[in-house]
């Protein structure tokens, strides 16, 4: 079967073709939602409702001249490709359904966490190789931001692992079909497979949305690319095809961050009367829309402010969440 082969998965459905389409759609959707919030139309006249706008943008960026700064490292060419490959690695770990997942093994959550931890390093290197002071400053900010979100992101994973008894993302989604006895009669009526962890872990859901927004550099936490402070952060020297690749991988990371939240807290692909993969994509787009809405509503933060919020408020909250979960599991005998 062609559709079952790894090549099909790599290059067509969760892989290249699909991710390219979803990224183009998300770029358009991001601009439309942002424009509606600002009470304007956004892309409108290029294609019906501006749908061809993102295709035009990407093709234009690819056909532009590619400038490599004179004193840049010879790795300048490869860094956007590496970050794109990294976002593909992220993509291959996210289960679109129990069938449409490229890599799944016992500890895929740990591997996903490792991929998320490497990503800021690549953002830093992108700035470093371009021999630009704003690039280096933006890269350092990416590292600082990683220090802020990485700890409490890992801590919000812990209750999910405790509840589902699994380190694999597919196993976590299956674990959301196993519900505690007290919740089953109520929740089974409107949730297809069982209780979503977002309903029993609302605090962890909020914390992980914040962490994903930090990881994908959405607005309140866009320190590495903050235009008023560091021109465009690590991507300052990147234009043309390099920037097209970076933009695509950024939006892909945004989509996959929303997909991670869907997988961990919102029941993965489970949606009544919808094919599994489509259900996953729909849920992820809803989460993505919420993230876009938050992004266009909140003002940006300073670096010390960010660290203070992360370490003084969010990390203790994550610990508290683990503690509460332990107590509830002990009292209700979840196991």
């Amino acid at each position: 079967m062609l559709a079952d082969s790894l090549l099909f998965k790599l290059f067509v459905f969760p892989g290249t073709v699909f991710s390219f389409i979803i990224v183009l759609f998300l770029f358009w959707w991001w601009r439309k939602i942002g424009a509606s919030i600002q009470s304007r139309y956004g892309p409108k006249h290029v294609g019906p409702a501006g749908t061809l706008q993102t295709i035009a943008d990407v093709v234009k960026l690819i056909t532009k001249e590619s400038i490599v700064p004179e004193r840049a490292s010879r790795w300048f060419w490869f860094m956007p490709v590496f970050s794109f490959v990294l976002s593909f690695l992220f993509l291959s770990l996210i289960p679109f359904s129990d069938h449409w997942v490229i890599i799944d093994f016992d500890a895929s959550l740990i591997m996903l966490f490792a991929v998320m931890a490497i990503e800021p390093l690549f953002i830093f290197l992108v700035g470093w190789v371009s021999y630009n002071k704003y690039g280096v400053a933006g890269g350092e900010r990416a590292g600082i931001q990683m220090l802020a979100y990485e700890v409490f992101l890992a801590l919000t994973f812990v209750p999910v692992i405790m509840l589902s008894h699994s380190w694999s993302l597919v196993g976590i989604v299956y674990g959301q079909g196993v519900s505690p006895t007290w919740a089953s009669p109520v929740l089974h009526t409107f949730v297809d497979r069982g209780v979503w962890f977002g309903l029993v872990q609302p605090l962890a859901l909020v914390l992980s949305i914040i962490a994903v927004m930090m990881a994908t550099e959405k607005k309140p936490f866009n320190l590495p690319h903050a235009e008023p402070e560091v021109i465009y952060g690590s991507s300052t020297e990147y234009g043309g095809p390099f920037y097209a690749l970076q933009m695509l991988s950024q939006f892909l990371m945004g989509f996959l961050g929303a997909g991670l939240i869907t997988t961990l807290y919102l029941g993965g692909w489970a949606l009544p009367s919808v094919p599994p993969a489509l259900g996953f994509v729909l849920k992820t787009l809803v989460v993505g829309t919420i993230i876009i809405w938050l992004e266009h509503s909140l003002p940006a933060m300073r670096v010390p402010h960010l660290l203070e919020v992360a370490w003084r408020k969010l990390v203790p909250l994550a610990f508290l969440n683990i503690f509460i979960t332990l107590i509830i599991m002990e009292v209700l005998g979840w196991a």
């Binding site: 035009a56 234009k60 920037y243």
Partner: protein, 158 residues
């Protein structure tokens, strides 16, 4: 080295599609050195919303397509403009807004004002909008004129 175009490939149609794409996605460098830049900001704001046509402000000169000359060019800003223009990757376009960059306007004859942007950038602008400052409709019309000129192929190189 001349290359043969393969059979069945209509180069002219490909070029027209490409020029349509280039004209539909013009990212302007948000570089304000004069008072007309407030009108550019007004054009980007919800009332006129230049993003409807796909014209958005770029974050760095490396990603920009259009430099909007929008104020008196003092001798001190000339190296900056030249540097930013050199940093923009190649198909790049120039639009002149207001009286100052095209003639000096109220500052004509001043000892420290360059009266014509062509003297410092050595390119021919795509559109001139007189006014002090022009209203946002005028700026939008200039962008649309640039877009149409790119589509026709009468401005810019490939």
């Amino acid at each position: 080295m001349a290359r043969e175009v393969p059979e069945g490939v209509n180069l002219k149609e490909i070029m027209s599609v490409l020029s349509w794409i280039k004209g539909s996605s013009l990212w302007n460098l948000h570089f304000c050195f004069g008072c007309c830049s407030t009108e550019i900001m007004a054009t980007m704001m919800p009332r006129f919303d230049i993003e409807r046509f796909g014209f958005v402000p770029a974050d760095t000169p490396r990603q920009a397509d259009v430099l909007v000359a929008n104020g008196p060019i003092s001798r001190k800003i000339v190296p900056r403009i030249q540097r930013l223009w050199a940093q923009m990757p190649d198909p790049k376009y120039l639009i002149v807004i207001g009286a100052c960059p095209m003639s000096g306007g109220p500052y004509q004859g001043s000892y420290n004002i360059v009266t014509d942007i062509r003297d410092v950038l050595h390119v021919e602008p795509a559109a001139y909008i007189p006014g002090c400052p022009p209203n946002p409709e005028g700026i939008l019309e200039a962008f649309i004129m640039l877009k149409n000129r790119i589509k026709e192929g009468s401005y810019g190189k490939f």
